[in-house]
């Protein structure tokens, strides 16, 4: 057992550092380090730079354009990116639908969809949740009824992140008879967002963000050729997708960077002649989250090591979702504490580059409450933390 990087890995680390120094556009870097939401075109710009280098898809097999990196290389990559200020990828295409396509899709589907995902030419969103199918996803009611060589899709998807920017949506739909056991009647469809009959309506979330939407399907015609794999197998494919994308789910590297920032902001924040890190109550809270994060990093590394020796990640990776979101939300909250009275102002968009008003407060800390409030979603989305606990209790503890 050891945790040292090999000489080759150290060389790789230097390569990554050099690449980031040379290629990451300074404006994207600055926004990322300040935790200012990036515009779509910035994600696209960065993804194309990664594509040029051959580093667009960290988790894909080499044959489809992936890096083929080891888990240690992925770990180095994630940490260097977070440290330097490279943005996280938008996961819906690269990390969510692509593994389903290259694992279960036809050759034609692979050729048609994967290259555009790799280059960020086509943006994807995820059509899973419905107004009455949230935690109980298998009770979804959007129907796809066969009509010649197409399906007619009807229903409503909700919490659809970035649907307002997406070109395509991957959906779980109900294809079988209603009496068939819930999961066995679900199919996986790829749907062009430009199809007639699709409307997207925005949902405003806490902190007045527009990230999620409702997507309505009214007799939308979807070619049968856009179905992944077999009819009725969609649930199986989706589950594989959910367990496949575990690396990075805990966002440990980003949390480490945020913790480092938090400490330096706390040190700069005066408190009656001392600074906040001199306040033992506050310092203890920071230490507690730091310790939790150290443990989480090793939990993540253990999971990665298990994957690299051929063990598919099991339900235990739900731990990563639970603890990762808890640490992120705790950091959000400590930022609010640092802000003090400046946690109160709500000056929308004051940190965006095109903001032309007068800034309020002592810098970025002023936006910490909206961020804290907005990020309450983290323990709800992607399978709420309660659902993750159900998974652990059923599949790990056997309860």
């Amino acid at each position: 057992m050891n945790m040292d990087f090999s000489p080759e890995e150290l060389v790789f680390q230097q390569d990554v550092r050099q690449f980031l120094r040379e290629k990451l556009p300074p404006d994207i870097r600055e926004s990322t380090l300040k935790e200012i939401p990036l515009a779509k075109e910035n994600f696209v710009r960065w993804q194309k730079i990664l594509y040029e280098k051959g580093w667009a898809a960290v988790n894909w097999p080499v044959e489809y354009g992936g890096t083929g990196w080891t888990s240690t290389q992925k770990y180095i990559w994630a940490n260097e990116c977070a440290n330097f200020g490279a943005p996280d990828v938008i996961p819906f295409g690269l990390n969510m639908v692509a593994p389903v396509i290259f694992t279960y899709g036809s050759e034609e589907q692979k050729k048609r969809f994967l290259p555009d995902i790799l280059q960020s030419n086509v943006w994807w969103c995820q059509g899973y949740s419905e107004p009455n199918a949230g935690s109980d996803l298998a009770s979804l009611k959007t129907t796809a009824v066969r009509d010649g060589d197409a399906y007619l899709v009807n229903g409503t998807k909700t919490w659809t992140t970035l649907a307002h920017y997406a070109d395509w949506i991957f959906c779980l739909v109900r294809t079988g008879e209603p009496e068939v056991k819930n999961q066995a009647a679900i199919s996986f469809l790829l749907i062009d967002m430009k199809c007639p009959g699709i409307t997207v309506s925005p949902i405003t979330t806490l902190g007045e963000y527009h990230e999620v939407n409702e997507v309505h399907f009214d007799n939308v015609r979807v070619p049968v050729a856009n179905r992944i794999g077999e009819e009725g197998q969609g649930w199986t494919y989706a589950k594989v997708l959910l367990t496949h994308e575990r690396t990075g789910i805990a966002r440990v590297a980003i949390a480490k960077k945020r913790l480092q920032n938090l400490k330096s902001v706390a040190k700069e924040t005066g408190d009656s002649g001392t600074n906040l890190l001199d306040n033992t109550i506050f310092a203890q809270k920071v230490a507690e989250v730091e310790i939790e994060l150290l443990a989480l990093e090793f939990t993540e590394l253990r999971t990665l090591a298990a994957i690299s020796t051929g063990n598919a990640p099991g339900a235990e990776s739900s731990i990563l979702k639970i603890k990762g979101t808890e640490v992120a939300q705790r950091l959000d909250e400590l930022y609010v504490e640092i802000a003090g009275y400046y946690g109160m102002p709500f000056v929308k968009d004051q940190f965006k580059s095109d903001f032309d008003g007068e800034m309020v407060g002592p810098g970025l800390i002023t936006s910490s409450t909206p961020r804290y409030i907005n990020n309450r979603k983290a323990s709800i989305y992607g399978g709420s933390n309660e659902i993750q606990k159900n998974i652990i209790s059923k599949w790990v503890l056997g309860l």
């Binding site: 949740s129 009770s139 405003t204 979603k377």
Partner: protein, 375 residues
């Protein structure tokens, strides 16, 4: 020992409660929050007509007695409705300071107008570096003849936008953290040299950064004795803290109940989610936190009334304990609601925002825990 409300208190409660239920539904509040003024002047006139603006004041000052229990009754109902009218800033914080420290002539000039709903006030005490230390003041005033020349910057001044007059804490002698040398000046908000950068707060209220550049303030507008204003300032913040705690208790009651109701109707896996024991116990925790919060609030208001406002330890106990409850109840209400809980369209999410800012206003939970320990 008797924890029941007097007949007058019951009447006050039912009149505020009726207003909140009938005239202050969530959609109306949303409209007020996004309106130009940020609250309703019509509501403010109604508050005056119904005598609510007299609640914080003594009978000698023309008020209804000024008991903390009365104030609690009113603020709790405001908390249930997330009322954004600047009652706390004008009547409690600023009004309380004037009642405690101003001369009889100043009181005659100001309190009548305030209670009639004709005067809006703001109390400018925080500075960008001060955090919760009320003596950390760099805004300064130098005497020139029969006036003070005021310079400085006050941070996050609640209701500064609507205020006709600003009560400003200034340093007239000593250095940054000295308890001595703090003076209270009343400044017309439209005086030359006063600039206000106004904004909405996260919880739908209004505040501003207020800058003073060589603002001339007549000596007659000083409230109280020069250099010794700090105890009165602390008392005013304590009173406002109690009022805020009562608002929090009202808001917490509202959302723990809403959460319970939601889980009775929201079905997943074929049953109402309230049937899941994992959620039941968490809602029991919310309820228990609410009960503990209500208890410590009662303890503090009764101490305040029996000690004539000299109850810093009790106030800090309340703020600390209620901050802890507000955190748990707010976060759990959102989590148990799930996706719908993080939308702007749901009222619960707005209660969560207010319960978040309340945890930090007038001193964070940790600040008051320490203050309790030090007293």
């Amino acid at each position: 020992m008797d924890f029941s409300y007097s007949e007058e208190q019951q009447m006050l409660q039912s009149s505020v409660s009726k207003f909140v239920q009938q005239d202050y539904d969530f959609h109306r509040r949303c409209k007020l929050v996004s309106s130009d003024t940020g609250f309703s002047l019509e509501n403010w006139r109604l508050f005056a007509e119904l005598g609510w603006l007299m609640v914080p004041f003594n009978e000698q000052d023309g008020g209804l007695g000024g008991s903390a229990v009365d104030l609690m009754v009113l603020m709790e109902e405001f908390g249930r409705g997330l009322v954004v009218e600047p009652f706390l800033a004008t009547a409690v914080l600023s009004g309380g300071l004037i009642a405690d420290s101003a001369s009889e002539a100043q009181k005659r000039e100001l309190l009548g107008l305030l209670m009639e709903g004709q005067l809006q006030l703001a109390f400018a005490f925080a500075e960008s570096q001060s955090r919760y230390n009320l003596a950390d003041i760099t805004t300064n005033a130098k005497k020139e003849g029969d006036a003070y020349i005021l310079n400085g910057h006050k941070a996050v001044v609640l209701n500064a936008e609507a205020a006709d007059k600003l009560l400003v804490t200034v340093r007239t002698s000593g250095v940054q953290y000295d308890r001595e040398g703090v003076t209270l000046l009343m400044v017309d908000a439209d005086s030359e040299g006063v600039s206000r950068q106004c904004y909405r707060t996260v919880d739908g209220h209004r505040a501003a950064e207020v800058k003073f550049k060589n603002v001339k303030v007549p000596e007659a507008n000083r409230i109280g004795v020069e250099g010794t204003a700090l105890p009165a300032i602390e008392k005013s913040i304590d009173r406002a803290t109690l009022a805020l705690c009562a608002e929090a208790v009202g808001a917490m009651e509202k959302i723990y109940k809403k959460t319970v109701e939601y889980t009775k109707t929201r079905e997943q896996f074929g049953v109402a989610i309230g049937k899941f024991q994992a959620l039941q116990h968490r809602m029991v925790d919310m309820f228990t936190e609410y009960e503990q919060a209500r208890s410590i609030l009662l303890m503090a208001v009764l101490q305040w009334d029996s000690n004539k406002g000299a109850a810093p330890k009790a106030v800090s106990a309340a703020k600390s304990r209620i901050g802890k409850a507000a955190r748990l109840i707010g976060q759990e209400a959102i989590q148990i609601h799930g996706g719908i809980g993080v939308t702007e369209e749901l009222d619960v999410s707005h209660f969560f925002k207010r319960l978040t800012t309340i945890q930090y206003l007038f001193g964070s939970t940790d600040f008051h825990t320490l203050r309790f320990a030090e007293h």
